[in-house]
Amino acid sequence: MISIQRLDKHFGGVFAVHNCSFTVEENTITSLIGPNGAGKTTLFNLVCGIIKPDGGEVFLRGKDITGLCPHAIARLGISRTFQQARLFRNMSVRDNLRLAKNAGDAELKDILHKVHFPLGLDTRASDLSYGQTRLLELARALLKPHKLLLLDEPTAGVNPHVRQELKKILINLKKEGDTIVLIEHDMEFVMSISDEVIVMAGGAVLTRGTPEEVQSDKRVLEAYLGK
């Protein structure tokens, strides 16, 4: 689905992403983990075209999307959420969702129900709690037509019940054919839903494998806790 090859990005003298390569297969759930500053979010931003890489390429279903405008990449079928939900705060829940897809109220209510969003379509986005903004952003990302879903810490600030629901939602999406890549710090969440876990450290891929393989890799523990 997506292939990242020798991607480089530095800010001043610091390499945020350095010679990073991996591929993600279609119809899988892949988790990106790693300590803070490992370059996970920068990698998402590079894939989405928000920042331009200093070197390397990104391919989406074989098509080179390196250097394309963010909106053009989004139209090719990438949908994403951010660490801090980015909503259209002066607009209603309905308008926020309809910007992703021109859908009727029934479909919008359906997607809100799916993510356990408790409020009505006419609620103003600026009136939502932190957790609710995360849910609405997730609903918007799901609604936007996509092939690849990038989720940046989807469980942060979401209550444990919804977190469990989120697992079901992601597993169902995979069954429906979605490919999902998520950045996550909740290891229980990561290990229970991922087909593959990619561990990043210092801007590059440290190791990758099934949740079991990664959990038994000493280097992963060292990356988090030091030697």
């Binding site: 928000i50 963010p70 980015r86 909503l87 002066n90 607009m91 308008d95 910007l99």
Partner: protein, 285 residues
């Protein structure tokens, strides 16, 4: 009779300034482009329409061409400047208005410079008929912007205002939306400028000055950002509220500053008690 003529004059001004405020609101309130160059488009429309009419083009046609001319300038200004954000965009667009003022002051062969252009033909004879015309135009403009605000284009402009990056992530070409938003805003500012020129029948480079810009922004803030109705109300309030001062009998040296004090007072009251403006839907900042 004189009093009725005075009321008709006020009605005409409210209609013309409504067009200007509503179109300013499209750039600032709906799309989030802090455009301080609005008087530039107003002036371009006024000068272009006046010069065309005086060179023999039918007044109606020159009015439309004046608006189109301003609209094209809006698109051209948007191309380099909408990549700027917030204060930087404000400074660049303000610079544009000043440059336009400078050009009209110094291009004496075309504009007669500081002497201004007198004798601009009227659209119709008689202020009653003109009031009817500007009223109809203002109503049409009001509905155009009302429909735009409900349209997909309008909603996307609002998304750009609230979070441009999130809009891009939904596949919206935010750059194009900003360019069109400023172009549309400039077109209607130019239309307002043309109507103003053909009503007053005289324009000079002071039309590009800060005075009108501050007045327009005051109207915008009092009425409220991202509200078409609010812009109309804000215009009416700020134009009409200081008018009773005329009948108190103050000398004109005091009357001018008194108007400014009233504007400041209204703005302060709005910012303290109703920060979103009378009908505003968007938080300032």
């Amino acid at each position: 009779m004189a009093f009725i003529n005075y009321l008709v004059h006020l009605g005409i001004l409210v209609c013309i300034y409504s067009i200007l405020t509503i179109s300013l609101n499209w750039a600032v309130g709906f799309t989030g482009l802090l455009n301080l160059g609005h008087v530039g488009f107003f002036g371009i429309g006024a000068y272009a329409s006046a010069l065309l009419a005086m060179s023999g083009v039918p007044v109606w046609l020159s009015l439309i061409f004046g608006a189109l001319f301003a609209g094209v300038f809006g698109l051209l200004l948007a191309l380099p400047t909408t990549r700027l954000k917030g204060d930087y965009l404000a400074l660049a667009t303000l610079g544009f208005a000043f440059i336009m003022g400078s050009v009209t002051r110094n291009w004496t062969g075309l504009t007669r410079g500081a002497l201004g252009i007198p004798g601009i033909p009227k659209i119709v004879h008689g202020n009653y008929a003109f009031l009817a015309i500007v009223f109809i135009i203002a109503v049409v403009v009001y509905f155009i912007f009302f429909l735009l605000s409900r349209s997909r284009f309008g909603k996307t402009c609002e998304a750009v205002r609230d979070d441009e990056l999130a809009a891009k992530m939904l596949g919206k070409n935010t750059f194009l939306h900003k360019i069109w938003a400023l172009g549309i805003s400039a077109f209607f500012a130019g239309l307002g400028g043309g109507l103003f020129a053909h009503y007053i029948t005289f324009i000079d480079p002071s039309i590009f000055g800060l005075g009108d810009l501050i007045l327009l922004f005051s109207m915008l803030i009092v009425g409220g950002l991202a509200s078409v109705k609010g812009s109309f109300i804000g215009t009416a309030v700020l134009l009409l509220l200081p008018e009773p001062l005329r009948f108190i009998g103050f000398p004109s040296a005091i009357l001018g500053p008194m108007r400014e004090i009233i504007f400041a007072l209204i703005l302060l009251l709005i910012l303290i008690y109703k920060p979103r403006g009378i009908c505003g839907k968007v938080d300032l900042g």
